[in-house]
């Protein structure tokens, strides 16, 4: 390719080779530079950064494991809470039933009492009525007797 730009016949201090595939000492120098660069980068970049990244991964993994354990505790607490709730509920329903029964019993007693009273008064009233009826019948009888006497006296004057 260098032949395209024709090298003047008057050579200067530098020898113009005019080759594109010009292998010389540059090659091993580049090899050495690459190997040194590899060592340098490994110690300056890859190792420290890899350490930080791996430490971070470990820390995250630890935290995740911690969180997983916590969820067991939470489940246990939940069960405890539910047990307490159930016990409380059972207690309250028992109390409620007891109250209900007691009030029912007292109501029954009151009902009985008032029923008896009512019956008694009814019986009294009935007895009253009976005696009044008797009395009225008796007085009626007397009045009927008087009336018939008067009628007889009136009808048979002479």
């Amino acid at each position: 390719m260098n032949t395209l730009w024709a090298i003047p016949a008057i050579a200067e201090e530098a020898e113009e080779k005019g080759k594109i595939f010009d292998f010389n000492l540059t090659l091993p120098i580049i090899v050495a530079e690459f190997l040194l660069l590899m060592l340098a980068l490994d110690n300056l970049w890859f190792k420290p950064v890899a350490k930080v990244m791996d430490e971070r991964d470990e820390a995250i993994r630890q935290k995740l494991m911690g969180v997983r354990d916590n969820s067991d505790e939470i489940k246990k607490l939940q069960e405890q809470a539910e047990a307490i709730l159930k016990a409380a509920r059972a207690e309250t329903t028992a109390e409620l039933n007891k109250m209900r029964r007691e009030t029912a019993a007292s109501l029954d007693a009151k009902l009985q009492e008032s029923r008896q009273r009512v019956e008694k008064e009814l019986a009294e009233a009935l007895a009253n009525l009976e005696s009044q009826k008797e009395e009225t019948l008796r007085s009626l009888d007397k009045q009927v007797q008087e009336l018939s006497d008067q009628i007889v006296a009136k009808v048979i004057p002479f």
Binding site: M1, N2, W5, E12, E13, A14, E15, E16, K17, I20, F21, D22, F23, N24, L25, T26, L27, P28, I29, I30, V31, E33, F34, L35, L37, M38, L39, A40, L41, D42, L44, W45, F46, P48, V49, A50, V52, M53, E55, R56, A59
Partner: protein, 235 residues
Amino acid sequence: MQIEQLQIFEIDNPHQVSSVEVHAQVLITSWVVIALLIALPVVATRNLQTIPTGLQNFIEYVLEFIRDLTRTQMGEEEYRPWVPFIGTMFLSIFVSNWSGALLPWRVIQLPHGELAAPTNDINTTVALALLTSVAYFYAGLHKRGFSYFGKYIQPTPVLLPINILEDFTKPLSLSFRLFGNILADELVVAVLVSLVPLIVPVPMMLLGLFTSAIQALISATLAAAYIGESMEGHH
């Protein structure tokens, strides 16, 4: 544009004017890339916190990206030791390519040649490809011992020449893919800029950014894939 070399030093005794040459522009730009790549983590890891912000977030994202890339290619058990290699491969190619495209190298005038991405030089890309080859050879031998050479006759011995050829074509393709992409993009942008300097080269430059990033990813992924393949064997 001239891709030239700089005659930096002369080795050997004074009787022989033999000099060993380097492409100084490549060395200079590669030093800049290395400086950038070292400055970033030094600044960013100054105050590492558990909950990252800003720059730390960014470098953690890059590391995560590289780890994921390596893990996808090599599997969960064996990827860890190779993260630095693949990471350096990816980051050096990525920063080299983007520095060539984004940094104003033209401001610095060199007497011969000019500064550009270090990956536009065949030496760099072949160096990276050879490193990858050595890496996957080493991985295979380290993991499986000499039974690693049994892979040449898998699945059938008829494929032996092809398997041997693969050992040559892998680094060849790796180096040329990267070299060709980066050099070609630079040349096209240079030609466009010399023709119509104002708006027209910009789409080409953006495309260059995109493809050079893809090339970095591909180089790193293929390196990881070759290493993973030579470690796994054929089950």
